[in-house]
Symmetry: C2
Subunit: 458 residues, 2 copies
């Protein structure tokens, strides 16, 4: 009995000691991020010198080159160019969306708009037709071909503002952006429009990817988003004149796929070099803004993790990777390629994190419950609570981790405060000036501290 | 025994049922705030139509009138004008701070600056002198009269960025703004300057109140803040030329105190009308910006609480008050007057909350542990966790509650995310466009839900 007590006592003492030790180390890690991090200046370069960088574009290729250098500068032992074929969709000349109504004496009133990613262009001729407004696919189905054929379908779906997390509202409405055109085409529509997916009543159109789903319709019609205010104006006008017309002109072109890369910066593990802990964001962004919050922030946060290990002289047992994924926005080619390569090379991934919800003040981690990852991380809750990470939630991941998740790697999502995210998401307003340096670094710090602990306790 | 079990069973069932009931009601309250609240449009009016509103100014008086109307519009049963005498300090003509160095061939280089609140003006003649830079009062004391007499003291104190909460850094450095001039005057300095109290390296000067402390020195010298970048420029120049001079010209005037008001909007309690639950922010703001985050946000959040009770048809047992305090920024006359009136009239205050840390995304409540208030609120932690209030911390209050705290009323501070607060605090950048509607309403919702629960369970 005495022996058991002694062992127990030793266990408790060791545990208390290591908690204290961890808390000192976590403080040291945050000191680094809050006073020495280069995440902010790295992001300034990526967003203001390179700018928007849609897959396949010259800017995306510049970003690839930049990421390689940034990874080496951060102290990576190895930087890997991981190839993937990506779509090369080009927006082309500025889109037009013009509303006209003889009854209302409106002629060619411009509605702020943008073509959706992957959509086909109308080219110079454009498309002009009456508008059918719907609030759901169910409404569309009820109207049927008789009401829709030859017309433009307008999905007037608002964000449900009652949700505490705007991401929930986005999740509910993004399907109209995604497959709205195919559903409309099924009933003979000539074009498809969506109210921008946004929390805020402004005049910015929000782009984003769409998919021509051949299981729904084989016809590809043009597909645009109009701003919240433009949508309001259209709704008002439709109340007075159901026969008003809208003219849409887009000049998008989908070029053949091109070769691009994920960039992987690695610090080699001292004990188990072939076991990996990875954290990533995506390097590509939409073309209309600077891709600051989406997702330059995630890229520089994870690159900074390499710097932190190096600058603090921490030699990880496992190999630590920062991954700048390519093509999250319109294809997930990078995430898929990473997963496939990991499987082909039989790389053992212990955990994978993605940061792709903006460079805002940290709130939580979402952690997969598989392979004991959640049970491990939840024990560190008190270590994080002084640093604004108030919750460790169940279930994690990110779009770029798709390839790893398929093979059963437990994933983590970094969760910042997202109240402002969908105001600027996929718009010309996603620019560097919306980034707060301390918020960016506190997020980076959370990721850095988590990876220090993951490496120590795996 | 059976009876005890039955009672216990009944207790558990009742408790589970009332938790469920509360959670449904809290959701309903947040639905109101997220979809119907007028806090944002109220704030737009206060900040853009009235603007900066320092105590005693015509704008402050306009704001008083506005607050009365806003309280009635929100459904107050009674609106009370509570008088208080407030200082009437006027900045006057734009301040000048010009650096010159023969050695560096710099002549009258402008350093962005602003006079500190309550400071005396130099008037047209200005003050020109050499500069002594110090990092602390200890350094100042060591230099003594010999080094300081006839010179301008420059407190070059940075925010310690390693703090997770910028408010901690503010707390450390604000004493140089507060009594720096008196300490400098003690050794014969002719003027006093501080590096702006800020997290961000920009060119905005941050004003704020200062105090001529006659226990330190009876001499009143002019006192200004220069921007972070101006401070950097001065530091660099001083490295090369210790004999450079700075010219300061300010035109501030302190007029006689004037009559102003706290505005109190009240919903009368149905059962205990003479017991009060109050939530407030401060109506006055600095003159250089629009006082949006500091503290128009707090004012409209608490006014909205009245609307919420009315619109949802909740008849509180106790009297609920929204208080728009006057003169938080340079005197606390309103907070003091409120406390005194409460004492004189023997008003029983059960709890008092202040929201004065910006209209940002909510994080926590800080709650006094006296009279069981903390023990009450901590039980509701799970009710708040879906709404971004992750913590109920010990210890609360706010500057305007000074009068009530003295009489032992337990206080609560609403704590939003403050990473961006000190970037714009007391500057021309504290404007309406920095407000995010959802963040403002989520903060208002937290306060509204808390007051619903306080009223129910007191």
């Amino acid at each position: 009995m005495k022996k058991i007590y002694s062992v127990l006592f030793l266990f408790v003492i060791t545990s208390v000691f290591s908690q204290k030790e961890d808390s000192v180390m976590v403080r040291k890690i945050y000191d680094y991020y809050l006073t020495q991090s280069k995440a902010y200046s790295n992001l300034e370069y990526l967003t203001t010198k390179i700018g928007g960088r849609l897959s396949g574009s010259p800017q995306a290729e510049q970003a690839v080159g930049w990421a390689v250098k940034a990874m080496y500068d951060a102290g990576a032992d190895t930087v890997i160019w991981q190839p993937c074929m990506v779509p090369y969709w080009v927006r082309g000349k500025r889109e037009k969306c013009l509303m006209s109504s003889a009854k209302l004496k409106i002629k060619d009133k411009a509605l702020n708009c943008c073509a959706l990613g992957s959509s086909v262009g109308t080219n110079a001729g454009g498309v002009k037709a009456k508008v059918v407004m719907v609030n759901s696919f169910e409404e569309l189905e009820k109207l049927g071909e008789k009401e829709i054929k030859g017309k433009i379908v307008f999905y007037n779906v608002f964000f449900n503002q009652a949700h505490v997390r705007p991401g929930t509202a986005y999740g509910e409405s993004v399907k109209y952006r995604g497959r709205g055109a195919s559903h409309a085409a099924k009933y003979g529509a000539v074009a498809s429009m969506v109210r921008s997916m946004t929390s805020v009543a402004d005049d910015e159109p929000h782009t984003g990817n769409m998919i021509y789903d051949s299981t729904i319709s084989k016809t590809k019609i043009t597909s645009i988003a109009i701003s919240y205010k433009a949508a309001d104006a259209l709704v008002e006008a439709l109340k007075e004149d159901k026969d008003l017309t809208v003219y849409i002109e887009t000049h998008c072109v989908t070029n053949p796929d091109v070769l691009s890369y994920n960039i992987i910066g690695q610090i080699n593990g001292t004990e188990r070099k072939n076991e990996y802990l990875i954290a990533g964001g995506h390097l590509d962004s939409w073309d209309n803004g600077q891709g600051a919050h989406d997702d330059g922030a995630g890229v520089v946060q994870t690159i900074e993790m390499l710097s932190m290990f190096k600058k603090l002289g921490i030699k990880p047992k496992h190999s630590i990777r920062a991954v700048a994924f390519m093509n999250e926005e319109n294809g997930l080619a990078g995430g898929t390629a990473y997963g496939k390569a990991a499987q082909d090379k039989k790389e053992k991934h212990l955990a994978a994190l993605e940061t792709d919800a903006g460079g805002y003040s940290p709130r939580a981690f979402g952690v997969d419950t598989t392979f004991g990852l959640y049970n491990k991380v939840i024990k560190w809750k008190d270590l994080f609570s002084p640093y604004l990470i108030a919750n460790i939630e169940k279930g994690g991941g990110g779009a770029d981790l798709i390839g790893l998740e398929k093979t059963g790697v437990p994933c983590i999502g970094f969760e910042p405060d997202t109240q402002r995210y969908f105001d600027i998401h996929h718009t010309a307003q996603d620019t560097f000036d919306k980034i707060n340096k301390r918020e960016l670094n506190l997020g980076a710090g959370a990721i850095g501290a988590l990876f220090y602990l993951l490496d120590k306790y795996y």
